[in-house]
Amino acid sequence: MPFNCHNDYKMKFSLEEEYPDLSQHNNHMAKALTKEIYEKLRSKSTPSGFTLDDIIQTGVDNPGHPFIMTVGCVAGDEESYEVFKDLLDPVISDRHGGYKPTDKHNTDLNWENLKGGDDLDPNYVQSSRVRTGRSLKGYTLPPHNSRGERRAVEKLSIEAMTSLDGEFKGKYYPLKDMTEKEQDQLIADHFLFDKPVSPLLLASGMARDWPDARGIYHNDNKTFLVWVNEEDHLRVISMQKGGNMKEVFKRFCVGLQKIEDVFKKHNHGFMWNEHLGFILTCPSNLGTGLRGGVHVKLPKLSTHPKFEEILTRLRLQKRGTGGVDTASVGGVFDISNADRLGSSEVQQVQLVVDGVKLMIEMEKKLEKGESIDDMIPAQK
């Protein structure tokens, strides 16, 4: 982020003087950032100029979140994860269930490997959705990028998306030049993303220059959607009403492959490595960056005392239907995979499919007044 780039000037102050006060803080960065690590890393900078204070600013400014343990740090470029390993490795380990610096991440975007998933009961499952993020190699990330870079990302993304055909054919709407009519339609479709208001995002600098070079692409069928330059270079979303997660996942995988081909042609393929999988701005989205989920009606199960435990065992998480940090409305929950790193896309979507199926069975049982005690799953 631009506010911390005068690192050499800062080095003339001592460690004690510069070390942030994290005594009130409860996020992954604050847990991991000892004085020793701060001292070791404070003189460093990635080749593009991203520094330790840039990495941690959001975590310093936002001591904690009422509902979830936030990450409290971001990457400014691909190299951040290497240059600042000493901080990011423990953060990654803490966030991703003990993932070790030597572990390898498995990427599997072969939709045919998904078993079932095409028959989730539409009486319960209102909609199905899979999203991920992608970063373009060779460009810095939203917390750090200049206007020129952000525009270059947009330009290349537009080229990739307008090359799509068949069910992916669609249109790009730049936020800057949108008409009122287009805006209203995108809002009605629940596609429009707005300038972030969360201080978690604002403090990292990713909302600079809004709405320059930000936009939305969606196909004519409104089932494949790409956000450009919001929290990541790209957020790719496949969605549809009903419970056919398999179809959603197939479209997701095929669409991603098609646009990747275009980026690769320009030597700006996706940032990826065999240890961290897909590289994204927030360490919480490393690996698959995938959140696959459904909006599902579980009024009885959600009030069952074992609901949370069931979710944990199934490696799932719940959110309200407004997304992260919202509450559920009318017993309808957003249920999605909890993991991102250490398991593949197929594995994570499989967990959602199998888990939601089981929970619907439980809901049906509870409707009939029967017990679900013998259905409680083992820890996956």
Binding site: Y9, S45, L202, W210, D212
Partner: protein, 417 residues
């Protein structure tokens, strides 16, 4: 401008300023690029030509956007102050905030004293527009804190509910809130509270750090209307001045609760003198005395305020250059405020109205905050006198309207005396 460096070099302060500003750089003046300050391992990013990075300001209405042409951007975009503050940082708030519904905002900030010189080609026209044609290259700003020169200044308490004078001061040698490191911000806090601890008599008081305040203290400060909170205005947050909140932020006030200092909010310090009722003369007397004593106390330790003869006191926002002074009253003007001539009267008296919640608030009932419009080009004494004379005129108008008499729009008073 060379005189500023001379002042820094001669200060007894024990901070390695010379190690920062290498000897060679002095001879080339302020126009230094960041390359010289980046360590051997890191490269400086300028992968894109200026035209690729030039912001889209077509929908913008602020002073920065009015003056930042693509050519000017190209000229300044790879410059940095000795501390590393860049043009992009200076203008970020104006890029992120296209315009304000009621007032034309400035749209840029300084990160340090040198910003005003390194980016003079942009700051100068912005200053000129914001301060009624003030030419910072040529004109000299008068500083005058001799409160004994004030004539009158005791308002009718039936109309004036309270009187207040505020300004800001920056500590020379430490970066300003948009750019300061945590260490610098903590240094500002240390220097300022050490000085304030030396105040005596009716200025003696206590410091309340935002990080260590007790619940009880916090409630008292809220009740006194003294507590300031983390800025929420995007004009401020986009400039980066809320980073690391609430580290090294705090409030100091005297025991009588008539002299108040904010530490590390939008500026290094904001100094406020206030009291209920209409004794503006006494408020200003205390203001000047307090400022002069604080200045004396910091000088004893080898520090000084940022100031120069063209721009007066240097503050974060160009709108506060010069005196940084806003002197005002909360005043009841039920009849005058409804008169259609009210805005013109205020304008000619060089006054502005705000709601009683401060900038960007609406008036409650018919009580207004009336204060001076100008900051730069006139001295503190002149501006406070302007407020005193102007408020007296407004009260006269209100009284005349009460008696059913007519009022007159006064002739416009001249701006630069």
């Amino acid at each position: 401008m060379a005189s500023n460096f001379a002042r820094i070099l001669s200060s007894k302060r024990n901070v390695g300023i010379l190690s920062l500003v290498g000897a060679g750089s002095l001879s080339v003046g302020f126009f230094l690029t960041r390359e010289q300050y980046v360590s051997a391992g890191a490269q400086v990013r300028r992968l894109y030509p200026a035209s690729a990075d030039y912001p889209d300001l077509r929908k913008h209405n602020n002073c920065m956007a009015s003056h930042l042409t693509p050519a000017l951007y190209a000229k300044l975009c790879d410059k940095a102050t000795p501390n590393g503050f860049t043009l992009d940082q200076a203008i970020q708030t104006g890029v992120d905030n296209p315009g304000h519904p009621f007032i034309k905002t400035v749209g840029m900030v300084a990160g340090d004293e040198e910003s005003y010189e390194v980016f003079a080609d942009l700051f100068d026209p912005v200053i000129k527009e914001r301060h009624n044609g003030y030419n910072a290259r040529i004109m000299k700003h008068p500083t005058d804190l001799e409160s004994s020169k004030i004539r009158g200044g005791q308002f009718d308490d039936n109309y004036v509910l309270s009187s207040r004078v505020r300004t800001g001061r920056s500590i020379r040698g430490l970066s300003l809130p948009p750019a300061c490191t945590r260490a610098e911000r903590r240094d500002v806090e240390r220097v300022v509270i050490s000085a304030l601890a030396g105040l005596k008599g009716n200025l003696a008081g206590k410091y309340y750090s935002l990080t260590e305040m007790t619940e009880k203290e916090q409630q008292q400060l809220i009740d006194d209307h003294f507590l300031f909170d983390k800025p929420v205005s995007p004009l401020l947050t986009c400039a980066g001045m809320a980073r690391d909140w609430p580290d090294a932020r705090g409030i100091w006030h005297n025991n009588e609760k008539t002299f108040l200092v904010w530490v590390n909010e939008e500026d290094h310090t904001r100094v406020i003198s206030m009291e209920k009722g209409g004794n503006m003369k006494r408020v200003f007397e205390r203001f000047c005395r307090g400022l002069q004593e604080v200045e004396h106390l910091i000088q004893e330790k080898g520090w000084e305020f940022m100031w120069n003869e063209h721009l007066g006191y240097i503050l974060t926002c160009p709108s506060n250059l010069g005196t940084g002074l806003r002197a005002g009253v909360h005043i009841k003007l039920p009849r005058l405020s409804k008169d259609p001539r009210f805005p013109k009267i205020l304008d000619n008296l060089r006054l502005q109205k705000r709601g009683t919640g401060g900038v960007d608030t609406a008036a409650v009932g018919s009580t207004f905050d009336i204060s001076n419009l100008d900051r730069l080009g006139q001295s503190e004494v002149q501006l406070v006198q302007t407020v005193i004379d102007g408020v007296n005129y407004l009260i006269e108008c209100e009284k005349r309207l009460e008696k059913g008499q007519d009022i007159k729009i006064p002739a416009p008073i001249s701006q630069f005396k």
